[in-house]
């Protein structure tokens, strides 16, 4: 599993399950997400495995919190994972499946509408990521030298999303053009065959 290692990595500093969840929601860790109902049991499992240890924090305010911290064993495990080389997962894009099957509708207008819709959604995600990035770099893009090593790596990671989403938005535009071309030429064919039919009838 990867979530185990993701949690291990996120516990750079001691935190509760709740803290981790809010890290997932807030920009920085955009590359992964998990629900509290998954986080809590995994943290428990990692503790029984000796990668984490927890203590109940006496609540100065609010309800008591169980705060986890990495053990030496957990740290070694994390290092091992980092040194194991990039873990490539299987990507699944339901919307590309939909696009492939669009020909069943036999309606280029529908394909066009679909791509437009997709472009909007991808664009929204891109805007959110750009926002999250500029909050880390405080506008000072290009020179990442004044960032600490942690933020530096996080910004690099975010930029993958920005690059990739940007490319996807451009792909939407290109595809919309292609679809439009095809609509034009099929209209021309319509006119041609209409003309032919007229010829036949009049001939």
């Amino acid at each position: 599993m990867s979530l185990e290692h993701i949690l291990l990595g996120m516990l750079h500093v001691p935190a509760s399950g709740y803290d981790i969840k809010s890290d997932f929601s807030q920009g920085t860790r955009y590359f992964w997400s998990a629900e509290l109902s998954q986080i809590y049991p995994v943290l428990q499992k990692l503790e029984t495995r000796g990668w984490l240890k927890s203590r109940i924090e006496p609540p100065t305010k609010g309800p008591p919190r169980r705060v986890y911290d990495r053990t030496a064993k957990g740290r070694r495990e994390l290092i091992g994972w980092l040194n194991a080389g990039p873990q490539m997962g299987t990507e699944r894009f339901a919307y590309l499946g939909q696009l492939c099957f669009m020909h069943e509708l036999n309606d280029m207008e529908a394909s066009s509408k679909f791509m437009l819709d997709l472009k909007v959604r991808l664009g929204e995600f891109l805007a959110w990521l750009r926002q999250a990035e500029s909050e880390l770099t405080r506008g000072g893009t290009e020179d990442l030298d004044n960032l600490n090593s942690e933020d530096f790596h996080v910004v690099l990671a975010m930029r993958m999303g920005i690059h990739s989403l940007g490319a996807k938005v451009r792909w939407c535009d290109e595809s919309l053009e292609q679809i439009d071309n095809r609509r034009q030429s099929s209209k021309m064919k319509d006119r041609e065959s209409t003309a032919k039919r007229k010829e036949v009838r009049s001939g």
Copy 2:
């Protein structure tokens, strides 16, 4: 679930579970994958739901095959899915998690090696996709007009992968540069502090 609809879409023409699996392996349907052990039960479920019907093909050669075909109900279900707008799934990138946590190694050389490794893997996938695309367009990129509607949509879908992977590879290069910059400046700092120490000693 999406796999249900993906299978429904792939059954444009009658096919067995085995056929579908090989479609997943062969370029065209690169956006999704599934194991035979998942495909067979899902096909059975779709049949009990009345979206598919199957018959055993009398084997002219080889073992008997169970061939599935869409019913009218299945076709309606597919159309509904296509008209429901793009289905955006949660993407998870374990390697971006690894990159974020790289600062724990405190070794820019390791970060650099990691990115290089990642670049190679992404590049391999990109080359494979480009190959699959050119097999469909037969080199005739740019003018997709001579493709049938099915292949046209498939090529559009493949191009998303090509655009996005291209952007990711460029991101690797950019990141490698950033990492290098940081290595240079940290070496300079080393030299500076060495110089200072010398000053102190000689002073």
